[in-house]
């Protein structure tokens, strides 16, 4: 099996690894780099739990060929906090009970971050659209929508 070198920026740090032929980015991040924050849920691009940000766009890492990220900027939930300081989205998810089992949370956070980076004060409809590719099975979407509203400094259902 041939291996190909891949170099890219992961959460602002340069990474150089070998990818197996046909390996997807999710597997490369988890097994090759050791960044375990993106999760495997379906392997076919329907659940969104493997969502990462590539050059500012939310992407499904399970459907992304690893070698295609050569030279690109990849962001994962692992790099969301700035040292000990949590990102506003992380704080909001904690305060608004936006996770139960937590398995979809890294993907949700990436989808939400890609939205907020582009649209700092999104409408509720824009939030729903942004996380429409991410399936949550326990929490329900309302607390997640609330958390994203709160992170962008807008009122939620609870705070009115």
């Amino acid at each position: 099996m041939t291996k190909k070198p891949v170099q890219f920026q992961l959460n602002g740090s340069p990474v150089a690894v070998f990818s197996d032929e046909g390996q997807n980015l999710l597997d490369l991040l988890r097994r090759g780099v050791g960044d375990l924050s993106p999760k495997y849920g379906c392997g076919q691009g329907t659940c969104g739990s493997c969502t990462v940000i590539i050059d500012g766009e939310p992407r499904l890492s399970c459907l992304t060929l690893a070698e295609t990220v050569e030279g690109q900027h990849v962001e994962t939930t692992n790099g969301l906090a700035n040292g000990p300081d949590l990102h506003a989205l992380q704080e909001a998810f904690m305060e608004n009970f936006a996770a139960q089992c937590g398995y979809c949370t890294p993907g949700m956070l990436m989808a939400a971050k890609a939205l907020l980076d582009r649209t700092p004060r999104p409408s509720r409809a824009e939030i729903v659209e942004a996380i429409s590719g991410n399936i949550c099975r326990c929490t329900g979407y309302e607390p997640i929508i609330d958390a994203i509203l709160a992170a962008s400094g807008q009122p939620t259902r609870r705070t009115g």
């Binding site: 197996d20 999760k39 849920g41 379906c42 392997g43 998810f93 996770a99 398995y103 399936i135 099975r137």
Partner: protein
């Protein structure tokens, strides 16, 4: 225990008993790990030299295995080990055997007959997941396809294919005595004769997949101390440990299970399939082995909430009071028992829903079909019958022309009422729920219904256990297969007839009360020992001749519990005059040696104790 008792003496200095939490945001204790992506799910443990396991699965609903040819797969690149049924040391189990309930009936890897699409017949361990997939495709299995059955009632017909040879009648055997769970409370025939309307309905639900975002899986690896560590997605860690110890014939002290971080479960991760296989892989290869279902497997072989079919018949008075209600239920257990037998016990305890009905009877069957085995999911055993009951309540309301909310308040159970499973109702709140629902929905109810309360009006004569008519229909032994003894050891004769009335009058088997309740011989197939269950002239209270029913010592009816239960507050067998009902308030929970011995009971399992060392 019939209700929660708080032990306030435990951790007394750490608790403030301030339970005013509703409406206030609460931070989960595990949320920091979730939002930083650091919560350790089973797949978040990295191992050098990790091997991947995949299963070869049956493409047929029902087929005999003639041969399995793995020679080509063994030569495929990356293949480390092919695992077959003969590699499993103790290849027969039933999930609830750890609490001594049910017969061992399911193989971890099948070698003789597959009974549902997706049943594993071999497993491949390879260096990569892709190599394991390729090798699985190269395994040649020669199947002799057998006729299959997918509908529970079709499965009960005499000529139906036998799904699960341990249970040749296609039903789970309760206590080795009955092919169904019975509930008898009062005399439904009398209730129907007094009723103004008879309302009947049939309700059918579908299987429901739990569909957690994290699929089932486990990683097992040898540890340096002759033990095996297993990181697993299980919802039932010690269940999985005990099941693994049993299937692999290994002391449970050699197993080190790590779990607790579950990426969604909802009941679908209690079946303990992935852990024995991954540990077996680690035993056979000496290397870390991951067995992870992909999404397609999760949907295909992940055990769902089973489908249920319900027939309900109500006798209703003109004013809306329900005088009698009978149930016939069919649980589609799929090919193996898993937890369906237990679901039916829960369900029978729940019947007839949150209502006080003086005469109730039910026959509920746990039926095997060639579908994916069913298991736990969120209130399983209750949810399906509640769906049927509430649909039926609307039908009753329509029949008598009553507001459906008022009909529910009229028939609602109240504190102190006797439930048909012989426990007093406590902390009831259906009336209050209905009142709030009427307010919130703007669906007005009468002033009288709005005045009702669950706290009053219950108890008194509503706390009595009525004389209950029993029957012997459904006894296993009179079955269609000749190789089953007609009278199982420790059978009906030595255990007596269940469920006599508790008013001091011993009542033994009487005529079946309703055709719905009769096990139709044509349907059930009493081919060799036809029984004549109904004595035409017999009134419900007259005993049946001894040939049909051995004369019975009145025994407590609580034989439908899987494990020993604490004695109920009322002794049902003790002869008592009708009025002298004992104080319904049960004694507060006071164990003599609280928690000092843990929950382990001697004899419950040889596998959980760690005593089974080699």
């Amino acid at each position: 225990m019939s209700s929660v008792e708080f032990r306030k003496d435990l951790f007394a200095d750490e608790r403030d008993d301030n339970l005013q939490e509703i409406g206030k945001p609460t931070r989960r204790q595990d949320i920091l790990g979730h939002v930083t992506g650091r919560s350790p799910y089973y797949d978040d443990h990295l191992f050098d030299g990790l091997l991947h396991m995949r299963c070869v699965r049956s493409p047929h609903h029902h087929a005999r295995i003639r041969s399995i040819d793995t020679s080509q797969a063994e030569r495929m690149p990356g293949v480390v080990r092919v695992v077959l049924a003969r590699d499993v040391p103790n290849n027969l189990n039933t999930l609830l055997s750890l609490i001594n309930f049910g017969k061992d009936e399911e193989k971890l890897i099948q070698d003789t007959k597959v009974a549902y699409v997706g049943e594993p017949v071999a497993a491949i361990i390879a260096e990569t997941e892709g190599q394991a997939r390729d090798a699985c495709a190269a395994v040649r299995v020669d199947y002799e396809v057998l006729p299959h059955v997918l509908d529970p009632e079709a499965s009960l017909k005499p000529d139906a294919p036998v799904v699960n040879e341990i249970y040749p009648n296609n039903t789970f055997d309760y206590h080795d005595l009955y092919d169904h769970q019975k509930l008898r409370f009062g005399d439904v025939e009398k209730g129907f004769s007094e009723a103004d309307h008879i309302v009947e309905g049939e309700y059918q639900m579908s299987p429901i997949e739990q569909a957690p975002i994290e699929t089932c899986g486990a990683i097992a690896a040898p540890e340096t101390n002759d033990r095996f560590v297993c990181y697993t997605s299980t919802q039932a860690l010690f269940f999985s440990l005990g099941t693994t110890a049993k299937l692999l014939n290994m002391a449970s002290s050699r197993l080190h299970f790590v779990g607790g971080t579950v990426g969604g479960g909802f009941g679908g991760k209690v079946d303990s399939i992935v852990e024995p296989l991954s540990v077996l892989g680690a035993v056979l290869t000496g290397r870390p082995v991951k067995f992870m279902w992909d999404r397609a497997e999760e949907m295909q072989v992940g055990a769902p909430r089973g489908a249920e079919r319900w027939r309900i018949k109500d006798g209703v008075a003109r004013d809306g009071r329900i005088l009698a209600r009978t149930f016939t239920g069919f649980f589609d257990a799929g090919a193996y028992t898993r937890l369906s037998s237990y679901a039916i016990i829960k369900c029978t305890g729940h019947i007839p829903g949150p209502y006080s009905i003086p005469n109730v009877a039910s026959n509920v069957y746990c039926v095997f079909t060639n579908r994916t085995p069913a298991t736990a999911m969120r209130g399983f055993g209750i949810t399906g019958v509640d769906f049927a009951i509430e649909c039926h309540m609307d039908k009753v309301a329509e029949t008598v022309g009553l507001n459906p909310i008022e009909l529910r308040i009229l028939n609602a159970y109240r504190d102190g009422d006797m439930k048909p499973h012989r426990r007093l109702a406590k902390n009831t709140a259906l009336i209050e729920c209905c009142q709030v629902a009427s307010q919130k929905s703007g669906w007005a109810i009468s002033a009288d219904a709005a005045r009702q309360s669950s706290l009053t009006g219950g108890g008194g004569s509503r706390a009595d256990i009525p004389e209950s008519i029993t029957d012997s229909v459904g006894r296993i032994g009179e079955r269609r297969r000749t190789d089953i003894p007609t009278e199982p050891g420790m059978g009906a004769a030595s255990r007596g007839r269940v469920a006599a009335g508790t008013q001091g009058i011993p009542i033994v088997a009487a005529a079946p009360q309703d055709e719905d309740m009769i096990t139709d011989p044509a349907r059930m197939g009493f081919r060799h020992a036809p029984v004549a269950p109904s004595q035409p002239g017999a009134t419900p209270s007259s005993p049946v001749p001894p040939s049909a029913a051995p004369s019975a010592a009145p025994v407590p009816p609580q034989q439908n519990a899987p494990a020993p239960q604490p004695a109920p507050p009322q002794q049902p067998a003790a002869p008592q005059p009708p009025q002298a009902t004992p104080d319904p308030a049960p004694a507060p929970y006071k164990p003599e040696q609280p928690f000092s011995r843990g929950v382990k009971r001697p004899g419950v399992s040889r596998f959980l104790s760690g005593s089974r060392r080699r």
